[in-house]
């Protein structure tokens, strides 16, 4: 797979990890049929991510470019302006729009596989270091709370999850997995109860 780009390799790796886990629960079927539901769900997740990023880029392009010597005021205004544009464009957005019903169990299983492994406890500890727990009500489209530091996401966890474009990041607040817009600093979607206790 050396000729494949990193992102494609990661998607294939994610499918490879998930497939045997789900295969046991599925009815007898051909190998092709066993692979497809997971691959399809992850592909669908990627489509939703791509759709969001396309919107993000389109809206960001309507804002004036930041000059190289941008002041903090200009940077802050641009970040908030982008957030406002996205919030308007996704006015009806709700939890599960991107973490859709089909992809949620797969993402849970990907994370479960990591946290159930030998390094699971220390990975959880790393994420939970300054994780305040579920102290705020999370809102899709809402600004990531300024008072809460972003969680560390260990490399082993990032490697297990489907890779994201640079506009988006995975983060945790409490046991909730968040999809964070890294430019607009808003919560794009979230999944509750993801981080095992």
């Amino acid at each position: 797979m050396g000729f494949l780009p990193a992102r494609a390799r990661a998607w294939l790796a994610a499918v490879a990890v998930v497939t045997p886990m789900l295969a046991a629960a599925s009815s007898p079927a051909t190998a092709q049929e066993r692979v497809n539901p997971q691959a399809r769900a992850l592909a669908h997740f990627r489509e939703e991510v791509d759709k969001y990023v396309e919107l993000h880029k389109k809206l960001e392009a309507t804002l004036p470019e930041l000059p190289k010597d941008a002041t903090p005021t200009q940077i802050d205004q641009r970040q908030r302006a982008l957030a406002a544009l996205i919030q308007t464009a996704r006015k009806g957005a709700a939890p599960g729009d991107i973490f859709e019903r089909d992809s949620r169990p797969i993402i849970r299983k990907l994370l479960y596989a990591v946290f159930a492994g030998p390094a699971g406890n220390r990975l959880r500890a790393s994420i939970n270091e300054e994780n305040p727990g579920q102290v705020v009500k999370l809102t899709v489209n809402g600004r990531y709370p300024d008072s809460i530091p972003v969680s560390t996401v260990p490399p082993q966890v990032l490697r297990a999850l489907p890779q994201l474009p640079p506009e988006l990041e995975y983060r945790f607040i409490g046991a909730t997995l968040i999809l964070l817009d890294a430019h607009a600093h808003i919560i794009v979607d979230y999944m509750t109860g993801v981080l095992p206790r």
Binding site: R7, I75, D76, T152, Q163
Partner: protein, 302 residues
Amino acid sequence: MLITRRAAALPLVLLLCSAAFVSALGAVQQAPAAQPAVALPNADGSLKFAVLGDFGNGNRQQYELAAVMAKVHASFPYEVVITVGDNIYGSERPQDMKRKFEDPYKPLLDAGVKFYASLGNHDDRVQSRYKLFNMEGRTYYTFKAPRQDVRFFALESDYPTPAQLEWLQREMANAGERWKIPYFHHPLYSSGKRHGSHSDLRDVLEPIFLKNGVTAVFAGHDHFYERTRPQQGMTHFVVGSGGQLRRGNIDRKSPVLAVGFDTDQAFLVAEIQDDRLTFNALSRTGAVVDSGVIERRKEPRP
């Protein structure tokens, strides 16, 4: 005067006064109590830089340490400050950038000192667009030092994506400089009771550092100053004491601890000349709380 410029054969000595030094040493684990601080050569043509971390809270202690940094700069003209993250705590509105960064370090900024930031878990990613942090929109990046054969690598340790790790491997392998110095927020080795070593990160970064002949690593996150005993031949510094401080947080029984200082704010100044890195860690009183010389590791491991 904190530092005396070397004149003729006189070595540079950073000690403010012996009383302050002795007082500071009282809190230093395994510090060479009977030894004087190792003088920075302050040589022409050397690379002089400072390391600062976990600083931007806008409190009095941050300002006082910043004033010491400015005094040191007057005699030891470092050109570069690398930050090991948590550059701004809490709100990051424009007025915060001023109060928590631009005002305290104004003398340094006015003198042309360039800050090259890395991001911590308290930092909004948008800081990468802030001109005075010299990140040019990137959350991880590399740059060649203005002097000597040195290249720095600023990493985003709270979000080490596979893409970032591939980038690091590639950039370190391609870098022709003799010194390759990584810096980032989460320490691979630390004696902190609160956070401590990040072994998950160590598992992926340490092999890359070993392979590429890294000698010294700078991090923060734990709110104190620490220098480790060499780990796999590399010395790790924790400089998370630029404004925040977690008093008494160093585990004195930690096997990795060489020197630790957790009773006051502190920063580090360092100088590279050829294959030697000389360093002094200074507290808010200007006392040298650690010092030494590290020779560049010459044999990268396969």
